[in-house]
Symmetry: C2
Amino acid sequence: MMRMDPQELLSLCKRRGFLWPAYDIYGAVAGLYDYGPLGAALKSNIENHWRSLYVLGEGFQEISCPIVAPEPVFKASGHVDAFSDMYVECTNCGETYRADHLATDLHPNPASLSESELGRLLKEKGVKCSECKGELTEPKRFNLMFKTSIGAGKGKTAYLRPETAQGMFVNFAQVYRYGRERLPVGAVQLGRSFRNEISPRQGLIRLREFNMMEAELFVHPEDKSWPRFKDVRGEILPLVPNEGEPRDLSLADAVSKGVIRNEVLAYFMWLTWKFAVDVGLDSKRLRFRQHLKTEMAHYASDCWDLEAEIGYGWTEIVGVADRGSYDVQAHINHSGAELVAFERFEEPREVEMDVVRPNFGALGPLFKGKAKQVAEALSKLDIGTVRGKDKVTVDVGGEKHVVPASCFDVVRKKEKVSGRKLVPHVIEPSYGLDRILFSVLDHAYSKKEDDYIVLRLKALAAPIKVGVFPLMPRDGLDTIATEIFDSLTMRGYTAYYDDSGSIGRRYARMDEVGTPCCITVDYDTKTDGAVTVRDRDSTEQVRIKMESVAEAVAAIVSGAPFSSLKGMK
Amino acid sequence: MMRMDPQELLSLCKRRGFLWPAYDIYGAVAGLYDYGPLGAALKSNIENHWRSLYVLGEGFQEISCPIVAPEPVFKASGHVDAFSDMYVECTNCGETYRADHLATDLHPNPASLSESELGRLLKEKGVKCSECKGELTEPKRFNLMFKTSIGAGKGKTAYLRPETAQGMFVNFAQVYRYGRERLPVGAVQLGRSFRNEISPRQGLIRLREFNMMEAELFVHPEDKSWPRFKDVRGEILPLVPNEGEPRDLSLADAVSKGVIRNEVLAYFMWLTWKFAVDVGLDSKRLRFRQHLKTEMAHYASDCWDLEAEIGYGWTEIVGVADRGSYDVQAHINHSGAELVAFERFEEPREVEMDVVRPNFGALGPLFKGKAKQVAEALSKLDIGTVRGKDKVTVDVGGEKHVVPASCFDVVRKKEKVSGRKLVPHVIEPSYGLDRILFSVLDHAYSKKEDDYIVLRLKALAAPIKVGVFPLMPRDGLDTIATEIFDSLTMRGYTAYYDDSGSIGRRYARMDEVGTPCCITVDYDTKTDGAVTVRDRDSTEQVRIKMESVAEAVAAIVSGAPFSSLKGMK
């Protein structure tokens, strides 16, 4: 299959109201796009289908957090320290470049070089500004978060979130409580995220402001089974593992052979696959690629990207990762909050543990009237901070007391405990909505010999569900068509009324934006009460009674084949 | 009616998963909230109803623009220069205050004072830091946009949008073209906006990051009639005009008496009213207040706020304004783009106009071979830049030529023209979604004598549509209840499964979050195949067959009274 030219698709998108370069009247800004009416509707349709799978289908809680977040959140997540790229600037014209992009032909992995190594390489090879041939500066690191400040005066340093995920991690305790304190429990968030790219390109693939749909499933760290896995064991996915050959494997085989790490990860890979095919991606141009070992985050135990083959080549559109306890633990460490689940044992268990036993014979003379309070404070200390010490400090009502080791013993004791605290592990399916949308358009785009364009969008995704045309804009045909149009929009179907130009041109306009069917009111309608319904993909036509129009559109929208309309009266 | 304590409502919201203070584990940030699962669902329900009215009902185009925008956009809109408040800082503890808020009891309109006047007043009255009694600095102006920068190196100054409106104004040409070059044409946008408040307070009423739903209707500057106005002429709204007494007026009277400026404004006030009542606001606690003449923007010809009476008092939740050509004209002036509509006359009209007539006798000797091109350039000049000048400069293929007045005449000429360019006027209904959501909760909140809380949300708004309970979590009742739950969620209804605690406690949990009905599966269900449906507001119960459950829930969700279930089998 020929890959299509992305510029051709972008040009259709601009012409027909899917996408507009943002702030075009002020010269536009690279990496920022507007969704026009058709793009915004397509985006909503994809979002709503995703919600139906995750929120209604799997019971995830949808939450919605602010975009602006104070610095400590991203200190904890690692973004303040590590979310950066290197750039160089032209000393003559001021143009900036991703430094590693300038060296793609000069080194196998330029992003792995240090600033000075990369600077040396660029200098050696005589790389200059491609705009004006000016000299370039030394590479510098640039943090990719948009920075801002909250409040007047000095203000608080803040950033625009680079992903929606952190909002769910910092809220784990709330999500867990709302989920009635059971694992697994999942949250999702849909919304804008930001990445201050040094030199954005490739249309919707690398944006400075983009839309994500992320799910965070919090699971028991020792239990990555998944009840519904049994329903999808036999499903086959095309896998590109980081060891061995690409192959099609059933999920059951993939898990039992250890290609996919665990059941829950495999299940959400399948759900991702189902979602992608539902919204209209071509299964023959999709694959799951496992992250290379060098590419995988050190804390992740497994990670797969769903890739779509589009005009730009194989492109990551979703990532599904087992992130272990990394994210939640990072926020525990930085905030001190207790982001844990409590596992209640079926039976209380007897465990042996070390405890501090106060020695009153020694405490009494030393602390007099406060001996009892000091003893209490001692028994509450974390055993790890006491063991082997020759003295410890305790706090009694705000007063510090140094207690010598002679005043206590560390003893082993058996105790019944009813459960234990667990830091949950996170399974994260993370969807790049703009990339998905662009891939859907890419896979739907088809051009016939005479340059006639048809977007073969699934009805579920199509921004307009039905075109409504009076053959002529008069003689009462317009009145009938308007009634049909109104009755369809009242039922919630996005319809498009068009009374200008030949019917052929009107079909062409609808085909080009992916409208699955069109209804024409003609002169016969006035006598036989029937209208013509025309199918986008086959261009077949059937005649149905006006009373059945809503039912016919409902059938098309629900994905029924056009042939099913033939039985209608 | 007693106003409710907003703290009590906020406390319910936090406890039950409507709202959480954002970044709580890092000490939270004033003016930033998370929507928990119930809040996010309520928000989606309100948004979707708004969309159904504006996009499906009135044919507005929904578009979606970036949040980050380059400086020129807000230079043009006036936000860079004028969107600011004054603040003072404590020289001791660093706390910041809205300077005018500190003077509310000291002056009738402290925001109208200059920095130095306000500073003098605060000093005279001895106002100190309320936290530490420290001295305060002189008031300074603080721009309320969050500032950031796009790209590496120096970068481009940019801001987070303070409203979604500008995205629609800068795209007027695109919106007009997509609407097939006809006026009126409307666009809407739903999304986040930002206001870097100096000292946010009042929960969801004054946020630093908030959600808007804005519509911009572009109309013919001389035609503010509205075809559908005739359908709502008789509707009566409670108006508080800026002259005379508050009164209830029909829309027809309000327009004919000049209380409301024009039909289209009146129509969208009515649509706003309908929306508010549809989502559950109490019509007895709503009113339209006209902006005072001192309060109205100089360019606006009329502006009305829909206010809701809530715990904080009468609070603006929507603004409906006739903004004239101000916004579009500002972007024409700053960008040079031609943001105009073209009005085609029914018949070409003969108009008299001044035109430049080149004088070839003088041009020839002066410009030789280029005389013809100079003449062409002359005739394209804007007449206003030529009239009365003793020389003008023209551009021929990039080369500038100074042309003395002897080379041309300005003559009056009759010409047939087919139409004219118009800068559209803007009617703007602008909805504060968070305030609407909070007002919906306020108006729905009710507490019985025994502190039993019921949120009387409309079914359309309710985050959970139905509770599903097995009387006991065993004996097959759980299996039946799970089947009912699954069949409802599969149909798209948000349901809540609850099998713990007494049925009374489960009802109470659902009443407190506004779930309109609950279904209980009991031991009789196994023999008679029927379940109990219980109404939230009346606490009435009816027994219906399991097969009718989906139909019953559909009826409740569509707003049918509970009594309509009694006829079901």
